[in-house]
Symmetry: C2
Subunit: 410 residues, 2 copies
C-alpha cells in the first residue's frame, strides 16, 4: 500500500556532477522504499544551462527566444535521463520525461512561459510501478513548441505537479538546510526556521534569500501546496512553508535579511503637483527598471524630494531617465548613492504587535548606524543604511530580537 | 516561385563548433536565396554524443536504452537550435524541430529504432515561409517516448524526409568531396567518382568507406531517393548516388576499398558431413559475432578446413567459441591470423564483363602479393592478403584498372 505521493525537486547544485546525481538517486530510492510513490523534478547539471546560453551568445547577442528554449531545455533532459540510470543501478525502476511528454502545457511566452494546464495521465499511470522523473523548468505550447518557465522554473514545475497529483508533500532540495533567521555567513548563531507562512517566505525571498524565487512561492500560496525546503546533503528536517497557522502568530520576527545590490536615486525639488509621482514611476517602469523602495519627503515650499532604490545594475540607465524626467517636469538635481544596504525584518506576528519598528531603530541607534530610508509593509520593515554597516546592522537586529537563541514570544 | 525542395544533411564534423555552424548557415541561406525551399537535417556537435554516452557510462555499464535515447537525443536538439540562430543572424527566417515535433514516428527499438511513419504536416506548413531545421537521428514512438535511429541515423532522417517531401535533391554534407576510387591517403591519384549506383555505394560502404552507412543507402535505394555526397567546406559537385543508369554499365570497376580491421580464423579438419557449416555459423551468430567472408577448401579424406573473417575486436571471443565448437563437432585445431587486409574492387559493370577477377589477381601476382582468401559477389571481388601489403595492393589494382586517370571503358 502506498503512503501517498511525494514530489521531490533537486536544484542544479544537487545534480552538479555524477557523484551528486548518485547521491540524489539514493535519497529518491529511500523515499520509495519508505512506501511513497515518488515524483522527482530535476534542474540542469550545475552550470550547464549557462554554458548553453554562452554558445548561443557566441552566435548572436539577441537569440530568438523560441530557439533559446529549444536549446536550454536540453539541460534538464540530460539530468533526468542520468538520474533514471542512477536509480536503475540501485535496483528500482524509474522513467524520465520531458515537460512535453507529461503534458505540461504553457502559453507561448518563450523563456518565461506560464503553465496553463497539466495533463498528468502518463505520470499517474507510470507511478503505479515506477519512480517518475520529470525535467523541470520546461513545458510545451499547444502548438508543440518547447517553452521554458524562467528563473526558478523547476520549482514551479514541482509545485504545479504536487498540486495536480494531490501530493502529500513537496520537498525542495537545495544546498542549505532550510531558511535561516539570517545569513549564517553574517550571523554566527543564526538559527534554521522550522515553519514559515507563504507571506513571510515571499518577503524573505524578495529580500534576497536565494532559496526560493518569489514566483514559485506565489504559485504555492495560490494552490495551497506546503513546501519543505531541505538539504540534499543531509537527512535533517528543513523549513516547512505553508498557510499561516495559529502557532505562527506568536512569532513577531522570523528573520533578518540583507540586500546590498541596490542603489538609491533622489530627484530633488520635484514640483508638488498631483500626478507627478505617477508620471515619474510610469516612465521608469516603461524602461523596465524595477523600483523597490520609494520615499517622498514632506513637502516644503511647493517642492519635494523623491528617493527610490533600484537594482545596482540599473543605476546608470536610471540616472539617465531621471535627468530627462527632471527636465520635463521642472524638477532639480539628481543625486545617487551606490553604497547602500537594505536591512529588513520579516514576521507575520508584526501585524498585531506595535513597537516592532521602534525596537529595530533603537538597535541601529545603539550602534550609531544612521538610517537613510525607511519603508514598511504589514509584515516587513526595511531600513537603508550605509553599505559598510550592512552586516553589522543585521547582527545587532538579530541579537535585539533574540533570534539566535530562542523565539521571541508575546 | 520556389524551385522545389532541397534536403541538406550536415554531419557532426560539419557542425563541430560555432564557426562551422556559421559556415553551414551560409550554405543553407545560399540555397534559400537561390530559390529553393530548404529543409536541413543536423547531427550533434562534433563529439558531443560521445561525451553524453561517457556520462551515462560513469553511472552504469549497461544504461537503459530508453533513457540513453532520452539522453543522447539532446545533442541534435542543441545543434539545430544553434543553427536556427546562426541563420537568423544572416537575415533569413528559420525554425528548428525535434524528431518528435515533426512527427517522425518510429517503433520502440530504442537506440536503433526504425521509422514507421512521418507526418510532415508541420514541416510543409512552416516551409512556406521559413527554412526548416530538423534534429537528425531521432524520432518518437506512438507512446511519445523519444527514440534514436542508430549509427548514421541522421542520414536516415534526411532520406526519409526527402522521400516524404518529394524533394528535388538530398544533399549529404561531409568533410570529404565525395566518394573516391580509393582512399586518397593511400592512392595519390585517386579520383572523385561522379556517379555511383546504390548497389556499388552499398558495397563500398560495407567495405569501410566512412561516407555513408549501408543502412541509409539501403533506405535511399528502397525509396529511390538520389543522394548527393559533397563537402561542407567547398562548393564543388560531389558524388551522385542513384539508381543504375545506362552510362554506369560501361564502368567495370568504380573503386578499390581496403579493410584492415578484420582477422581470419580457420577451423581445421572439420568432418565433411551435411549441416556442419550451418551448425558452426549458427552458434557464432548467436554470440553476436559478425562473420564477413567464409571460404571452405576442397574436401580431402572426409574432412575440410573452414576459414572465415570477423572484426578484429571479436577475435578473442571467436577463438573461444571456435575451440568449443571444434570439440563438439569433432574437428581439429583452430588457427588465426590478425595480420590480414581485405582488398576489394566494386563495380556495376562487372556483372556483364568476364575476366575482371583475373586482372585483379594478375595485378597482385605481378607485385608478388600472395592471396590468402577470395570471395566474390555480383558486383564485388574481395581478396585477403597479408596486412603489410594492403596499401600496396590497393595501389597496384587502382593502377591496373586505370582508375586514376580515366575511366575504364568496354
Amino acid at each position: 500500500m502506498s503512503k501517498g505521493i511525494i514530489v521531490q525537486k533537486y536544484g542544479g547544485t544537487s545534480v552538479a556532477d555524477i557523484g551528486r546525481i548518485q547521491n540524489v538517486a539514493k535519497k529518491v530510492v529511500a523515499a520509495k522504499r519508505a512506501g511513497f510513490d515518488v515524483v522527482v523534478i530535476v534542474s540542469a547539471l550545475g552550470h550547464s544551462t549557462d554554458k548553453l546560453i554562452e554558445l548561443a551568445h557566441q552566435i548572436t547577442v539577441i537569440p530568438s527566444e523560441r530557439e533559446l528554449d529549444m536549446l536550454i531545455s536540453t539541460g534538464e533532459q540530460v539530468s533526468c535521463a542520468l538520474l533514471a540510470m542512477a536509480i536503475h543501478k540501485l535496483g528500482e525502476d524509474a522513467i524520465s520525461f520531458t515537460g512535453a511528454q507529461v503534458g505540461i502545457i504553457t502559453d507561448t511566452s518563450f523563456t518565461k512561459a506560464r503553465i496553463i494546464d497539466i495533463n498528468a495521465k502518463r505520470i499517474v499511470e507510470e507511478l503505479k510501478k515506477k519512480i517518475v522523473i520529470v525535467a523541470g523548468f520546461q513545458g510545451v505550447s499547444v502548438n508543440q513548441d518547447i517553452t521554458t518557465l524562467g528563473r526558478g522554473g523547476s520549482n514551479l514545475t514541482a509545485v504545479a505537479l504536487a498540486k495536480v497529483l494531490n501530493a502529500e508533500s513537496c520537498e525542495m532540495y537545495t544546498d542549505v538546510e532550510g531558511v535561516f533567521t539570517a545569513d549564517p555567513r553574517v550571523v554566527k548563531d543564526a538559527r534554521k526556521i522550522d515553519r514559515l507562512s507563504y507571506e513571510e517566505m515571499f518577503e524573505l525571498a524578495s529580500l534576497g534569500t536565494q532559496v526560493l524565487q518569489p514566483r514559485s512561492i506565489e504559485f504555492a500560496m495560490k494552490f495551497g501546496v506546503p513546501i519543505h525546503v531541505r538539504s540534499s546533503f543531509s537527512n535533517k528536517i528543513g523549513t516547512i512553508i505553508s498557510r499561516e497557522v495559529k502557532a505562527m502568530e506568536h512569532i513577531v520576527v522570523s528573520g533578518v535579511a540583507l540586500n546590498k545590490d541596490e542603489a538609491k536615486v533622489t530627484i530633488c525639488d520635484v514640483p508638488d503637483r498631483p500626478g507627478i509621482a505617477a508620471k515619474i514611476f510610469k516612465v521608469i517602469a516603461k524602461e523596465n527598471i524595477n523600483v523597490d523602495m520609494i520615499v517622498q519627503n514632506v513637502s516644503r515650499t511647493h517642492a519635494t524630494d523623491i528617493s527610490f532604490t533600484v537594482p545596482g545594475t540599473d543605476l546608470h540607465k536610471t540616472i539617465k531617465v531621471a535627468k530627462e524626467l527632471s527636465r520635463r517636469v521642472g524638477a532639480g538635481d539628481i543625486t545617487f548613492d551606490k553604497d547602500i544596504a537594505k536591512v529588513s525584518i520579516v514576521g507575520i506576528g508584526m501585524r498585531s504587535h506595535s513597537g516592532v519598528a521602534a525596537i529595530m531603530f533603537e538597535a541601529l541607534a545603539e550602534k550609531r548606524i544612521n538610517i537613510e530610508m525607511i519603508s514598511t509593509s504589514e509584515i516587513k520593515i526595511s531600513c537603508v543604511v550605509n553599505k559598510k554597516y550592512g552586516e553589522k546592522a543585521v547582527r545587532v537586529i538579530h541579537e535585539k530580537f533574540g533570534l539566535g537563541k530562542k523565539k521571541v514570544k508575546k
